[in-house]
């Protein structure tokens, strides 16, 4: 044991004598070979097939390889839809029919010209593959073409969020009908798209080795301005501190996601690199379980919410990369003032409640998603805050698959859960129905309110901000959901990398539009 401690101490001393990683950032010079060096922290986890990929960091691949008919304006916190492969678009007043005129002069990476035929085949493929993002086309009744460049999409039922789906990072992307027909195999080309792409984006996929390395190169027939970077090298790093060492040595141009709280603090104090807290729709939510013990009481749930000192959490965990949640929805989804979340920090009600409870009811469990070190810290801080008020909170880690498991079988779910989430698109309904509906896919702890449920149909049909706001207000009143903080994409980049802010889209976490980057 003595030797073990001595060994550890010797190495730590060696490390500290050499300087910590954050304080020894080497001066990096802009690459002259037009190669952009980035990295993934862990493998994206799913193939870069836009009809399959439904997670976070791999959006760097899917959103640069593929394009949808519409997109969100980059470089702004306010989600606003703009043209992409469709130049103009129109929705019928009842949100069932959408007519679009396509951009001319667009080519797929295999050389096939982009025409209206690709819209139908791309929609059909998404439905046939039937993976996570397929729900966005589930209500499509027909896709009809009027010539090569006009398309009409009809829905079975009105959906005010449909245009947002077309613009969303997980939305339907256009795929070359030629490439997909030639490589369909028995799985609608899923095997092919694990290592190739069939999009129109500014970049094409040149390497995809799971867990090891990905690469892209600029597409010379892209319809937009010629990108500065001719290729992008993306090795998979599995350790955050090693990734930071590579960045500090100048081997990476930027780190786009998952920096730890301590790394963020270090980089904020390092003037030789650029830091970018960029707006997103990501929020850390606290879920309270209305089916467990003392939390069955709405008053208790509210008291538990009020006892959380968000300011302390924000300061200790999210310095420089999050704002306090003041709306029931993630920030930027709704105009300021709508869906207010007026939860004022007040430990007194919980303290009073704890004093009146028998000892057997003073213990609760706070769960967090095991992949999020931030939420572990949040849960620990909350536990300490509750302990001071007489409530013992046990902190417990759960794998993602366990958390999803509670949706079908709530047995074993904790009293409270801290987890990060974001909607697929910016329209409020895209968040409310999966979070607050009784059968919502993110309603992990089974909370519902008949009043909320009755509003979903009209919210979907009209997209009325007032209805969305009302749903948000009602959700706050249940005491089941608490938007703790709105997270930003905290990115760090070498000082020579230009255009980071303008290449970031509020709905696309962990990623940048690489065609928008340059050096200078």
């Amino acid at each position: 044991m003595k030797l073990r401690i001595l060994g550890a101490a010797a190495l730590l001393l060696a490390a500290s004598a050499c300087g910590s990683s954050g304080s020894s950032v080497a001066k990096s010079t802009a690459p002259t070979d037009h190669v952009l060096h980035l990295s993934f922290l862990q493998d994206p986890g799913q193939p870069p097939d836009p009809d399959v990929y439904y997670s976070g960091q791999g959006l760097l691949l899917t959103t640069n390889l593929y394009e949808g008919l519409l997109q969100y304006v980059p470089g702004t916190a306010t989600p606003k839809i703009e043209a992409s492969l469709a130049e103009t678009w129109k929705a019928s007043p009842d949100n069932t029919t959408f007519t679009l005129t396509l951009r001319k002069g667009v080519f797929f990476h295999d050389g096939t010209p982009f025409t209206s035929a690709a819209v139908k085949s791309s929609f059909d493929r998404r439905a046939a593959v039937n993976q996570g993002p397929a729900y966005m086309v589930a209500d499509v009744a027909s896709v009809t073409t009027q010539g090569d460049y006009d398309v009409t999409i009809k829905l079975k039922t009105p959906d005010a969020a449909f245009l947002d789906y077309l613009a969303a990072p997980y939305g339907p992307k256009m795929m070359s009908p030629t490439a997909m027909a030639a490589n369909a195999g028995k799985d609608h080309g899923q095997t092919y798209l694990q290592t190739h792409d069939a999009g129109t984006g500014a970049y094409t996929l040149t390497d995809a080795k799971v867990g090891s390395h990905y690469a892209m190169k600029a597409f010379d027939k892209w319809w937009g301005p010629k990108p500065y970077f001719t290729s992008v090298d993306i090795p998979v790093q599995t350790d955050a501190s090693t990734q930071q060492l590579l960045f500090n040595k100048g081997q990476l141009a930027a780190i786009l996601h998952d920096l730890t709280a301590s790394a963020v603090k270090q980089y904020l104090g390092t003037p030789s690199i650029k830091t970018y807290p960029l707006p997103t729709l990501m929020s850390d939510y606290l879920y309270l379980n209305p089916n467990n013990g003392i939390l069955k009481s709405q008053a208790t749930r509210v008291a538990l919410q009020q006892a959380v000192d968000i300011d302390q959490i924000q300061k200790q965990v999210f310095t420089g990369r999050a704002t306090k949640g003041v709306q029931a929805y993630p920030e930027h989804m709704m105009a300021a003032g709508l869906a207010p979340q007026n939860i004022v920090h007040d430990p007194a009600p919980l303290q009073k409640l704890a004093a009146s409870l028998p000892a057997s009811q003073k213990t609760i469990t706070i769960g967090y998603d095991s992949v999020s070190p931030d939420n572990q810290t949040v849960a620990n801080l909350m536990s300490a805050q509750y302990a001071a008020l007489g409530i013992t909170a046990k902190v417990q880690s759960y794998p993602t698959a366990t958390i999803f498991g509670w949706i079908t079988d709530p047995k074993g779910a904790p009293d409270m859960l801290v987890t990060l989430g974001w909607p697929d698109a910016a329209q409020p309904y895209t968040w409310s129905h999966i979070s607050f509906a009784p059968d919502g896919g993110l309603n992990y702890l089974h909370c519902s309110d008949p009043q909320i449920t009755s509003l979903f149909a009209s919210d979907k049909q009209t997209g009325s901000p007032d209805i969305s706001s009302k749903i948000g207000e009602l959700s706050v009143a249940t005491g089941c959901w608490y938007n703790l903080v709105n997270q930003q994409d905290f990115m760090v980049a070498q000082p020579w990398l230009k255009g980071v802010q303008g290449a970031h889209v509020v709905t696309q976490p962990n990623t940048l539009t690489i065609a928008g980057l340059s050096v200078g």
């Binding site: 030797l3 073990r4 401690i5 001595l6 060994g7 550890a8 010797a10 190495l11 060696a14 490390a15 050499c18 020894s24 862990q42 493998d43 986890g45 799913q46 439904y54 039937n130 993976q131 996570g132 993002p133 729900y135 589930a138 899923q190 095997t191 694990q194 390497d207 080795k209 799971v210 867990g211 090891s212 390395h213 090298d233 090795p235 998979v236 790093q237 599995t238 350790d239 501190s241 090693t242 060492l245 590579l246 040595k249 095991s370 794998p399 993602t400 698959a401 366990t402 999803f404 498991g405 949706i407 079908t408 079988d409 047995k411 074993g412 989430g421 999966i434 059968d439 919502g440 896919g441």
Partner: protein, 331 residues
């Protein structure tokens, strides 16, 4: 010998059966929902049910179990829920990386162990320093040793690369998946050299603990044998200490060291999994670590079975080597 191999093969089959049964049981009683995790929060109940059916998860557990065992007999480990590729293909990519790292780790460990044992037995100059360095290294947790090595040899000295298997973008993909070997087989010495450079830090981090364990056992065995009657006779005949050790004592001392090596190889795989994470080494450690949170059962089962079988195979080889080194051992 044939009897031993037959016995071990039967043991391997029993282990596969038992491991598969345990994994299936754990999967059944666990509250994990890989399908919902795969499809995300927007998936409808119908979509989840459809996917569950497509994956065969709606069948009775015994039916799934026999189907899986049948697949194994045909070399089919199922399809990963995460990578969406056959687990066999995934293992074919990740296992060579781990094997290469483990092989070099073992090689470094044996070289260091022999140096430690011979040096301290024969009182070579510098042997004490080597002993102190190795003991300090072995006493340090592997992850800390790895991070320290990266800080010193990559960040500050810039002598060695920190992550991955190679910096070359055009390294050959085959035929073996072992880059140092594939470089030679493809006439690409640059690949072999670059891959070896990438192996040094993780290999040494993996080797430190086993080197000391093997070295200490070998040393005490050597010292014991050096006191024996036949060694004294050899010395009386005028042989030097070195010749006594190499010519007479070494072979008789190898048994315990080989047993320890067999044990250490098993433990080394556990160490490799941690080292892979730190050095971004695309091996089965990384594959497993990413499969667990999303309950990628086929991937987890594939790795578990592979490691179980590997452990039996390695111990069988060690038993055989022991028998060759010392025919008195009855196996």
């Amino acid at each position: 010998m044939l009897r031993l191999i037959a016995k071990r093969l039967a043991g391997m089959a029993a282990i596969i059966f038992a491991l598969t049964a345990v994994i299936f049981l754990l999967q059944k009683i666990s509250p994990l929902d890989p399908v919902h995790a795969m499809l995300g929060g927007n998936a409808s109940k119908a979509a989840i049910a459809q996917q569950r059916h497509a994956l065969g998860l709606d069948r009775p557990i015994l039916s799934q179990f026999w189907h899986y065992l049948g697949g194994l007999l045909h070399g089919d480990f199922g399809t990963s829920y995460r990578t969406r590729r056959p687990v066999g293909s995934d293992l074919g990519f990740f296992v060579p990386a781990t094997l290469e790292l483990a092989f070099y780790g073992l090689l470094f460990a044996i070289v260091l162990a022999v140096l430690l044992a011979f040096g301290t037995t024969l009182n070579w100059p510098g042997a004490r320093l080597l002993r102190v360095v190795l003991l300090a290294g072995a006493s340090t947790p592997a992850f800390l040793l790895a991070i320290g090595a990266i800080i010193i040899f990559y960040q500050h000295l810039g002598w060695l690369p920190a992550t991955g298997r190679t910096d070359l973008t055009n390294a050959p993909d085959g035929p073996t998946g072992l880059l140092t070997l594939d470089g030679l087989l493809n006439g690409r010495l640059d690949v072999t050299v670059d891959a070896f450079k990438h192996l040094i830090l993780p290999g040494l981090a993996v080797a430190a603990g086993p080197a000391v364990s093997i070295g200490r056992v070998l040393r005490s065995s050597l010292i014991g044998e050096m006191q024996s009657g036949y060694a004294k006779t050899a010395r009386a005949k005028g042989l030097t200490e070195g010749r006594v050790l190499r010519g007479h004592v070494l072979r008789n001392s190898l048994g315990p060291a080989l047993s320890m090596t067999g044990l250490q190889v098993g433990l080394m795989f556990a160490g490799v999994l941690v080292i892979e994470e730190i050095f971004s080494w695309p091996g089965i450690g990384q594959y497993t670590a990413q499969s667990i949170p999303v309950a990628d059962f086929p991937a987890i089962a594939g790795v578990t079975l592979l490691l179980g079988v590997g452990y039996v195979v390695i111990n069988t080889i060690v038993d055989i080597l022991q028998a060759i080194a010392d025919p008195r051992i009855n196996i």
